[in-house]
Subunit: 294 residues, 3 copies
Amino acid sequence: SIPPGVLPLRCQPPVWGRATRQPPGFPLTPCRAFSNNKIQVELDQSSGVATMKFKSPPVNSLSLDFLTEFCISLEKLENDRDCRGVIFTSAVPRIFSSGLDIMEMCGKSTEHYAEFWRAVQEMWLRLYGSNMVTVAAVNGSSPAGGCLIALTCDYRIMVENPKFSIGLNEAQLGIVAPFWFKDTFVNTVGHRVAERSLQLGSLHPAPEAHKLGLVDELVPEEKLQEKAAAVMAQWLALPDHARQLTKSMMRKAVLDRLVAHREEDIQNFISFISKESIQKSLRMYMEMLKKKKS
Amino acid sequence: SIPPGVLPLRCQPPVWGRATRQPPGFPLTPCRAFSNNKIQVELDQSSGVATMKFKSPPVNSLSLDFLTEFCISLEKLENDRDCRGVIFTSAVPRIFSSGLDIMEMCGKSTEHYAEFWRAVQEMWLRLYGSNMVTVAAVNGSSPAGGCLIALTCDYRIMVENPKFSIGLNEAQLGIVAPFWFKDTFVNTVGHRVAERSLQLGSLHPAPEAHKLGLVDELVPEEKLQEKAAAVMAQWLALPDHARQLTKSMMRKAVLDRLVAHREEDIQNFISFISKESIQKSLRMYMEMLKKKKS
Amino acid sequence: SIPPGVLPLRCQPPVWGRATRQPPGFPLTPCRAFSNNKIQVELDQSSGVATMKFKSPPVNSLSLDFLTEFCISLEKLENDRDCRGVIFTSAVPRIFSSGLDIMEMCGKSTEHYAEFWRAVQEMWLRLYGSNMVTVAAVNGSSPAGGCLIALTCDYRIMVENPKFSIGLNEAQLGIVAPFWFKDTFVNTVGHRVAERSLQLGSLHPAPEAHKLGLVDELVPEEKLQEKAAAVMAQWLALPDHARQLTKSMMRKAVLDRLVAHREEDIQNFISFISKESIQKSLRMYMEMLKKKKS
């Protein structure tokens, strides 16, 4: 139903920067079952439920390419009348998503930082404001931006393995989660838990995350997809229109805040990330990760 | 102390629409013990505690007449210096209140919808902003507007029977709770529980409602009135003035929001409820209720 | 590093009223270890952690002198590069702090009330906005303003003795906690718990306070200092800059609100406290305390 090369946007703002620069003849794969490089999408037409599987080894990091694919895929589902809900999960063992790709924030141009940050904003705006039911099936660790994706869904189910952890751990890296990460966190776990967890940059093992309300439910790994489908069916039993209006009522204030301060937020990100001290600590962090690997 | 036919209003806004149109000679029953059609009011002068018993079978639905009586009764108590607290409970077995009367929202004129919605607003404005201590003794199920009455009190005690449930289940009927229902809900259970419960239109059995913080306490049915009296005594042990100022400080932001957007909220209600799709789904719901009865 | 007689202020507003009137030659004790009349300060330079011990028997009440010392001491530590965190505790057995000194609010001049209230505001503004990690080691009861100090820290550890209680019990005295006490309370325990606790003027025994989230942790009295040091070490493991920016993001809205309404808040306090009815009830309360003592 979507003509190739045209990306219909659900609503005027937010317009996702990159999409408008897509060359007109860009061949989009057919909507019903498509897979690009980093995300695999399947739509079960009988249930109206799509699954978006993150498949960007080694750790599903949120690179500009990943975010681009994410937004295009989400947009296509959003505009597909046969799709009413999406389950997000990982095809990579033991990791849901490691969060924003540090490579995109290190040693790049101001223009690149702006483009990257706009894509992060766009991902959140589209997902937090989605009309579809969104369920995170968290089958691995989920730090920083990975945690944000989960928080931005309507419901979070996590594998009960205490080796898997989740949290906005930006402070550990010497950086600060932006205000809309914080707003999403506060809306989920309340002000006090957010204040403590964000300042400590805590990564909460699954059982603790559940206790704090960061995830709604824990299940054994082999039950995860079944449980996600059952939760989805429960949410889809409601009439879409009333559910969507209710969701919008709950989330509008926080969404509007980023829409109103979007360019300012990009400038803040650029000036923060461009600091030599921040660049240095990110480089050190990457060195550490490389040593860990080898 | 209140001359017949005059309804002294505690404060300028909110002025309750209907009251001003009350004919001057309308004979109000004496304040100390009065019963109209749908609500039975008793004031124990020694304790300063009134009880308002909902007595509108079969399900204490909040019709325009019920809301009118509710506001008049509450206003009389509010202006009675001998009354410092009110306990709300039901005289109908197994139901506290079934919420807004669907008959008032189905196949009526725009003027009627406006009058009805203004009365719903008025009930909430007066109750949420009451200077008296308000305790809900929830002795039966309490969906939608029934739940709102409970949430709007200072304290909620519910019979521990798991067959009794409570919640803002509007979404189940294809309609949306207005923003001030939502604000009251969020102030009680926090953002996350509200987001999930409102989108699913959940009716929570008493034990679950207690766990979520939707009610403060569970008691066996035979202990309910005794417990309500004990809680009331605890709250009345505080000096009225400091307690009232504190209550106002906690609730002012949310009250002010409706006062500022009252006419807009009425227009929203009218345009929403007048939609043929909504009318159709309300008619179907009423059919279902009728079949259930017979 | 701080020249005697000069009190460098970390940021322009808030300017603490009294400090500017300090005589130029006022001899400040050296920063590293100083003790005035009412508060004993020790800085462990190896860990970068200071301890502020309240030592103003019989009950560490927050007099104008106490608040003055508190602010000067905090300011000195804030400007000392060797100090990264402060632990607040009491040197008086069984009491952390009894809160605002009623003597300062009874039978004094308007000017005195203004000066006193400005000092209370200043204490809160400096502590809630502190760049240092602040840990309350609550080793005794902590009503009203004593509770506020604990709430204003980053983390609260309380001795598990159920005879020690904590809460904003202003309503019990017929007075009302100002909006920024309330904001701090809501940010800690959420709206519902705050609404109920503030209206009832509840003093919560340690175990209940822990259950409500008013304190983060309970320990046996003999483990308190050790635990406070361990918590402090955990918070100091984070890079200061990211932690400080995160803290500021979480607290800015509430801090800004007092800064914007500071003079208005002082006027409110003066007109409230000057009422004969309030003066009378404070006098009665003091009589009661005197009788209790003898």
